[in-house]
Symmetry: C2
Subunit: 704 residues, 2 copies
């Protein structure tokens, strides 16, 4: 199902007319009580049916012995029965025509193979009846607008614009606990559990068109279908910011993931590339996640990255400025009009340049003047207001003054009212007016940097994948032959055929079967040449003298051929020797590396970096998930630290970077066309001066 043609709404979860709680209990220590109580307590207006064969009523509601015993229709069933009973309940739900089920019960995939089998059974039942599932092994879900509190978590968060999904149920409880104290508002809240059926991609898609969800946030440990995740997230993030924590990314963390859930954690590099390409903002912690989410939920995106800082203290102003620069944002240059206005309105010791220092004795009026002035400055894209609680400081009045500007300006304003005891009164006013406040300017800047990134992402055109003419059949034929031989590794002449079919340039070369043929081929292509023994059985050519450089006459080529074949036969009598490859010897140029590794979650992960010994020593490489477009390929070049070497340093001529870009794009098409390729290395790709192209000297492929 592609995101374009999908009609998924999940209304049975977010707008049910009736909810049954299977396993509802009157025992206040049971989850079955907590869920029912939440439904009743937190304003759900539809019908609620407790299902429990042992009692007549719970919380004043008549209880039913089973789902089928309920007289009316049931849109949603929340299931809190023991694991072995869940399948039976689902079967019954199917009969009853229930459209959605939240399986809170744990004891499935996460406990081992037997649980995994039981979980598959749940999915089979759901598929059979067209019912959709959340969970199992989850906390439930919340929609503050429905309103619906169908989880066993305590309390109901405020209405707000943040949607949150989590692969950790426990984290949901922490976040709700924090949100209740900090007045953070949510639209929807889903605990994903084991994701037997519905997963992050489904909620991303549905929430992308939910008018109450201005920002979608997630805690993820693994992703079900990497390719589709990128596809859906890329669409949604174009209009709704998507922020995610991806945990289990480090080696130690991944071990913890595998022992915790059954999902396979993708490699860190693949996630980095995938999130970048999908427009997903990565959060380093729950704190980061909500620092960003609150800003997106409450403030407009900045039009530019030029920031004005208004402060009543020099030190924190400098800290804000340091943080801006580190985050790659700009300190806005105020217009002379703005500076004149500030100079006339502020005391002479104040700074009318950015950061605008209204001085320690500033009352609210000085803040109002300064914030208004920078808000009207065309050079300013966003504003950070820093306040320290000094003797004269009017905390509440200043908060109100800033709120007033915020109401009339289209520019985002974030605040860093620093402190806690006396600052609290101002913070409440800021919150009530949709102004995100941060305890230190560095956190305000980090949130703003995410907003700038989102703005740029939204303005960026969708990738335009180029299609090169390529001889797909020729490659298929090579692969067929290789597989027929029972081989999986492809190099030498066969690899060259693949390069040729996809237009990845390579040095001229001829496979010669005799010394005479070798000499003739060398003469035809011009000296010097390289000669290489060619045999599917000999992996380490150099070890047996199977590579000879700098051969500069036909005679030398013939001698080298005979000696090479003689040695190869002596070294490995059983080897099938196809002859020797005569290859144009390349001089000059810079070595870069291109490659692809098929990631278990995201598929073909392209790699580019400086080649030769540097790639190993400096690990100066960058990644993208194929297919990519020209702009993305160019960005790969730009991202490596050694890029200046390709641009040319110390008067060296620039390298032919477009030839590298071209090779990357052709490689991208090749690995997209042939999913059976699990690995490719083009190392080195020799790149010459601008206009003189590049040559893939050595290419190796590994098939599945």
């Amino acid at each position: 199902m592609s995101p374009q043609d999908s009609t998924l709404t999940l209304d049975q979860f977010f707008a049910p007319r009736s909810v049954a709680v299977v396993g509802a209990s009157a025992d206040t220590t049971k989850l079955g009580y907590a869920v029912l109580n939440n439904l009743v307590e937190h304003g759900f207006t539809g019908a609620v049916y407790p299902i429990n064969p042992k009692v007549d009523q719970i919380l004043g509601l008549p209880a039913y012995t089973s789902l089928t015993a309920v007289p009316g229709d049931i849109d949603l069933a929340v299931i809190v029965v023991p694991p072995k009973a869940v399948a039976g309940v689902l079967e019954e739900a199917g009969q009853k025509g229930v459209k959605g089920a939240v399986v809170i019960t744990a004891g499935f995939r996460e406990v081992g193979p037997q649980g995994m089998a039981m979980e598959k059974e749940l999915l089979a039942i759901a598929r059979k009846t067209g019912m959709r599932l959340i969970g199992p092994n989850c906390l439930g879900l919340i929609d503050t607008y429905a309103p619906l509190q169908a989880s066993f978590a305590l309390g109901m968060p405020m209405q707000g614009q943040i949607a949150f999904m989590s692969q950790s149920g426990a984290l949901c409880t922490s976040i709700l606990d924090m949100a209740l104290a900090d007045d953070i508002g949510f639209s929807r809240f889903v605990s994903l559990g084991n994701k037997a059926d519905l997963n992050e991609i489904d909620f991303l898609q549905v929430w992308g068109s939910d008018p109450n969800s201005k920002v979608i946030t997630a805690y993820l440990e693994g992703i079900a279908d990497g390719g589709r995740f990128i596809e859906v997230a890329r669409e949604v993030s174009k209009h709704t910011p998507v922020i995610s924590i991806k945990s289990g990314t480090t080696q130690a963390g991944s071990r913890a993931v595998s022992s915790h859930t059954g999902t396979l954690a993708g490699s860190e590099k693949a996630y980095e590339a995938a999130f970048l390409q999908a427009g997903v903002l990565r959060a380093g912690s729950v704190q980061d996640l909500f620092d960003m989410a609150v800003a997106f939920a409450q403030q407009p995106l900045p039009s530019t990255d030029a920031v004005a800082v208004v402060t009543n203290a020099g030190g924190p102003g400098i800290m804000a400025t340091d943080a801006l620069e580190r985050a790659g944002l700009q300190l806005a240059t105020l217009t002379s009009d703005t500076q004149a206005m500030l100079k006339s309105g502020l005391p002479s010791a104040a700074s009318a340049a950015n950061p605008v220092d209204v001085l320690g004795d500033a009352m609210a009026d000085r803040y109002a003047l300064a914030v208004n002035a920078v808000a009207d400055d065309p050079n300013v894209g966003a504003i950070i207001v820093v306040l320290t609680p000094q003797i004269m400081t009017q905390i509440r009045e200043t908060a109100e003054a800033v709120a007033q500007v915020s109401r009339r300006t289209g520019k985002p304003i974030l605040t860093a009212f620093m402190g806690k005891q006396t600052i609290g009164q101002g913070e409440r006013i800021l919150r009530a007016n949709g102004l995100p406040n941060y305890p230190v300017p560095e956190r305000a800047v980090a949130a703003l940097a995410a907003m700038v990134r989102q703005k740029r992402w939204q303005e960026r055109p969708m990738p335009q994948i180029e299609h090169f003419e390529a001889d797909r059949n020729a490659v298929a034929e090579v692969f067929r032959q290789v597989k027929a031989d029972g081989r999986l590794t492809i190099g030498d002449a066969e690899a060259r055929a693949v390069q040729a079919a996809y237009g990845i340039p390579h040095p001229r070369s001829v496979l010669a079967k005799t010394a005479e043929e070798a000499g003739q081929a060398a003469e035809a292509m011009g000296f010097p040449v390289v000669l290489k023994i060619t045999s599917p059985d000999i992996l380490h050519k150099t070890d047996i003298g199977g590579v000879k450089l700098n051969l500069s006459s036909a005679d030398a080529v013939r001698d080298a051929f005979d000696l090479m074949v003689y040695r190869a036969q002596r070294y490995q009598p059983s080897a099938d020797i196809w002859g020797c490859l005569v290859q144009q010897q390349i001089k000059g140029g810079k070595e870069v590396l291109l490659g692809m590794n098929r990631d278990p979650q995201f598929g073909p992960l392209l790699v580019f970096g400086l080649g030769g010994i540097y790639v190993e020593a400096l690990k100066d490489v960058t990644f993208r998930v194929a297919p990519i477009d020209r702009r993305q390929a160019r960005e790969m070049l730009n991202e490596i630290r050694a890029y200046p070497l390709l641009r040319g340093v110390r008067g060296e001529p620039p390298s032919d970077t477009e030839a590298i870009v071209d090779a990357i794009l052709r490689l991208s098409q090749l690995v997209t066309d042939f999913p059976e390729i699990v690995e490719i290395d083009i190392n080195p790709l020799m790149v010459f001066e601008q206009g003189k192209g590049a040559l893939g000297i050595d290419m190796r492929l590994i098939l599945r």
Copy 2:
């Protein structure tokens, strides 16, 4: 004054018997009222003398017309009079025998040259009378143990073990406001102001031996005397952690500094190196600073970097694990005894490996079992306890159980009780028991990483500076000659003489005055050789064909000599041509770069990196403030990304790294011996295979 022989105590500030407030006021909107009121309100037990000629008494205390009118002795004067009156007050204080003055009044150095002159006058008066000064342009000081609240900030923080000094007075108010709400305890609190007399180094030194200050924290914008700062901080940080924010480090931030205070901000790289060498922990924000400070104040240092994580939720456990790995800490491998104990005491679904997952339904007893078990595990150096508020979670009881372990174990325990609303009750218990709690595990891990770093720092031996035999006179003679010629740049033969004097190896070379001499010299050293025109007037030799490589016969050398001199004369007739340098031509080896740049704050900043075009393109360099010892020089090598290239990759032989270390140490000695050298480049230093040494091919020096 070196830190060893210093007898500085600053008792006049932290243990005064009597305090006068000059400019005391009965007007509650005045600073002079705030200061007096704070003294009286917050428990100062000595005599307090308001000085104000216009009133008889303030706050029930008799007021005096002047300092000299006070009958008793005065240890400390806090001065809040207008800027022009301060000098007069100080003069009077001197006559009265006052030992210390806190000048709160602003309007000095920070307002321009006239203010600077007035500030110098204050210092002159203080020096004359032996009085010490804090400020001017500051908030005052606080000592919670004296107790003494001699500032105009609101409130008095709790007693605690954190000492704080700040170059921003406003930041003090924010931090006090935060500390009051979060129960963060302080020992001493000083607003440094313009640092006319006493500065960060003085307080560092004095607080280093204050038994109430277990950790010293600072907000700094500039450092008065970089060399002495390193010296003092290096001593103090060996027993007392020193944490500092250094702001104004980025380019934009530095501009803000210069417009804010008069101090010159040192370059970021110099600060990084200096803080590293001084054992000062760098904080990125006020939040980071106190995250670390609270941990140091309340918990013991870890014996190792192996951390046990105990959690009731898988997700946050993974987040903690990810953070540990990113911070370079280890997930402890629990002993089989510990694992057996956990297995027998926890439910079967729990994880008995690290991170220890006690499961979502864990009550306090399960936490107690697990935290006790890991605390007794010899493989565990530190513990992080993560808690999410789930249905069964006993927040208070768990906090108490953790506190009990904390009281009996010598290992640090940090907690991440995640949430806020219901978590608050547990957090108060944790705080009361000296357990630092963080809202997210990532912040607990960051604080722990700082503790591990501090532990390693304390165990690290003090640098042992080696002294090489060197011909100091020879270098002095070269410099004398160069200066006598009115030059400041040294290269070629003169630089080689400097290298020789300090044992920095260089290629064999001879300055030949005639073609004949050149030919003979080349024959004596062996071919091939390089020939270079030598003239103090020709800077860009290659531009006029003044460098010739690969000369392989005496004949070729003679021809090249004549041609070179002919061209040089034609190109620049006025040039003073000394002849040509015949130099052994170096083959093989890897290029590295050594150098020194004299930093305005910290002095000789050594640099090391990969040479050639890579140093420019990759900026793969590292810094230290000279003098350094062998261990530090080796660490420099290790720090560059390209270090594997020196160790040898792809079967290449390792380079002679000890020869590089030796060259760095000799350079360190040279720049320490001659402060008039402001810049040195040895680029490249060619380093050969292990045991084959290194040669400084080209060295250039610039004198002051």
